[in-house]
């Protein structure tokens, strides 16, 4: 690309090989360094003996335009994005409701009286407008993201999930008791742990605790049933559910009062029906 055949590139005056200098000559590492500036060490391209014409002249301008486009893509796409969290269903989760309550309380105590519900409605409107404006701003970079992958979608740990879910899988024989075979992060119930502990499966299972992923959660349940049908030939049913539990406060941990939580999103599937199907291998 451009820099390789630029003046001063390999073959140019600063290339130690072509200049005849030993390429691994000892470095005076203690030599005083001036200000430590980029300008002190980064060298400008050596002037070409012949004024560039045609492509050679224009390529620098094209590069200049491209790099500005790239910088704009990186910085503008970094603007806040309500993204996947922009869902009324998701906002009903106790974790999100707790955030509204804390913020509303803070604002009310500081001269801006507002209830959590009013705050939620105002933020819903604001987030909608923000999403619209942001979408318009980043539209020129959509092809860049689509074909090259230059995107900035990270919303890493924007908030602790105070009411997280964890996957729980159990099987039972006809008329028998449920036997847990897998529970997230359990050292005891470790069926298919290698798969479920992988960070990509963790990400998927994390998402499936939210109501807007109901369809995909159902797909995961069917897959689990297929695997359980093979791995537990004596079992007749599998139960897939999520344990939703508030994370303990430091005080609760020190006083050994860990919240119990409740099971939800329960799906029970017949393993006989799974065995009736051809194994998809």
């Amino acid at each position: 690309m451009i820099e390789d055949d630029a003046p001063g590139g390999p073959g140019g005056p600063r290339d130690p090989v072509d200049a005849g200098a030993p390429v691994d000559a000892p470095v005076d590492v203690d030599a005083p360094v001036d200000a430590g500036t980029e300008a002190a060490t980064a060298s400008p391209a050596a002037p070409s003996p012949v004024a560039p014409t045609g492509w050679a002249r224009w390529r620098w301008h094209l590069l200049g335009v491209f790099v500005i486009y790239h910088i704009a893509a990186v910085t503008l796409q970094a603007l806040p994005d309500p993204g996947g969290t922009f869902s009324r269903q998701a906002w009903r989760d106790p974790t999100v409701q707790q955030e509204f309550a804390v913020w509303a309380d803070y604002l009310s105590r500081n001269g801006y009286a507002i209830t959590p519900k009013q705050l939620e409605d105002q933020l819903w409107g604001l987030a909608g407008r923000l999403a619209t404006v942001r979408a318009a701003i980043v539209r020129p970079f959509s092809a860049y993201g689509h074909y090259i992958g230059v995107r900035q979608p990270w919303r890493m740990f924007v908030a602790p999930h105070r009411f997280p879910t964890s996957l729980d899988v159990a099987v039972r024989e006809a008329g028998g008791e449920w036997r847990t075979v897998f529970a997230d992060r359990s050292p005891e119930h470790t069926w298919r742990r290698g798969t479920f502990d992988h960070d990509r499966m963790r990400a998927a299972v994390f998402r499936y605790g939210w109501p807007n992923y109901r369809v995909a959660y159902g797909e995961l349940a069917i897959w689990i049933a297929g695997e359980a049908a093979r791995d537990f030939p004596e079992a007749s049913e599998v139960r897939i559910r999520m344990l939703k539990r508030r994370t303990p406060t430091p005080e609760e941990v020190t006083s050994a009062k860990i919240p119990k939580g409740t099971y939800q999103q329960q799906i029970i599937l017949s393993l006989e029906a799974q065995r009736g199907r051809e194994a998809p291998r």
Binding site: E38, P80, W154, F157, R202
Partner: protein, 329 residues
């Protein structure tokens, strides 16, 4: 306007020692391997990237990046082809063979695989794609590579490459941290929530490697860490500004201060420590490796060489001191 444009072109024409970009390249190649090898070894490829008819858990026929859609059908052959070719390309990027073509193959493979099942995607997929694109733009294998060894006869020749790709690397990491910081709108990241975000995040069963309730006994430490992480992320643009000011000519008070006190040091120490803690306590894939790969590009090659030589000298003198202190048998 014309003067500004000329100055901009002059910045793009700057050249510098290729070492920082080469370290970034090698670590990014390693991160590509880290991204896919565990998925292969734990049998996750079939589960998350194959269609339900082929043993996966989701219906994925219509999913995928432009490359997968152009291929027509999300068959097991296509998925495994993408995984294997991306692993090979990542390995070539790591050892420094294949240059931009290898980086582009690794990028397109990573992008294609990550878009197949978006529910199993991590934020690090996008960052890894951005890293690989920067390696398509810059010459990352001019040094510290097999290609350099074959061309120059030494592993780390001093070769100049364009400086602007390294500037884009710095911009990218500043954008990552700042964007992450401004998205942290939860009260728990602030005094209102008692700076308790990190404590509660580490209690989430989704991400932790082992039970983290022991943190309750060092809760104040997690509060301090929460405040520091929040400040660290939000102030990254200031670090970029400081780096810009350091290299500008002039001898004003701010520049003198910035040259005497290197603002990168606290950011690098805190950032690397933070990522190592994440690695130790949480299972978030190659996220820490991808991010740490950016740090060497905060320094010029001469600074890296000086730092390395100083470290070796210290290790040598520590070794000599130990030998003197140990009586011969």
């Amino acid at each position: 306007m014309i003067r500004a444009w000329r100055a901009w072109i002059a910045v793009l024409q700057r050249r510098e020692d290729a070492l920082p970009l080469a370290i970034f390249r090698a670590l990014t190649g390693l991160a590509v391997l880290w991204n896919l090898l565990p998925a292969v070894l734990h049998g996750v490829v079939r589960v998350i990237w194959l269609d339900r008819d082929d043993g996966g858990y989701r219906v994925l026929r219509a999913a995928g990046s432009w490359l997968v859609q152009a291929a027509g059908d999300l068959s097991p052959g296509l998925v495994w082809g993408l995984v294997i070719s991306t692993l090979c390309a990542g390995f070539l990027v790591m050892i420094g063979v294949g240059g931009r073509v290898a980086a582009l193959c690794a990028l397109q493979g990573t992008l294609a695989i990550s878009m197949i099942n978006t529910d199993a995607k991590g934020s690090y997929d996008a960052l890894l794609c951005n890293s690989l694109w920067l390696l398509c733009l810059g010459d990352g294998q001019a040094t510290l590579s097999i290609a350099a060894k074959r061309r120059h006869g030494v592993w780390i020749p001093r070769v100049d490459v364009a400086a602007w790709p390294r500037y884009l690397v710095i911009l990218q990491i500043a954008a990552v941290y700042f964007s992450t910081g401004i998205h942290k709108v939860s009260a728990f990241w602030t005094p209102m929530g008692g700076f308790s975000a990190l404590y509660y995040i580490l209690q989430q069963p989704t991400w932790h490697r082992f039970d983290m309730t022991w943190l309750a006994h060092v809760y104040p430490l997690t509060q301090v860490s929460t405040a520091l992480v929040w400040i660290f992320e939000l102030t990254w643009p200031l670090l970029g500004l400081a780096l810009y000011l350091r290299q500008r000519p002039g001898d004003g008070r701010v520049r003198r201060l910035l040259r005497r006190f290197d603002p990168r040091t606290p950011y690098v120490i805190f950032g690397v420590s933070m990522h190592l803690m994440i690695l130790a306590f949480m299972e978030v894939g190659p996220f820490s490796a991808i991010t740490i790969a950016y740090y060497p590009c905060l320094y010029r090659a001469d600074e890296l060489r000086r730092g390395w030589a100083r470290l070796r000298r210290r290790l040598r003198s520590a070794g000599a001191g130990e030998a003197l202190a140990t009586p011969e048998a």
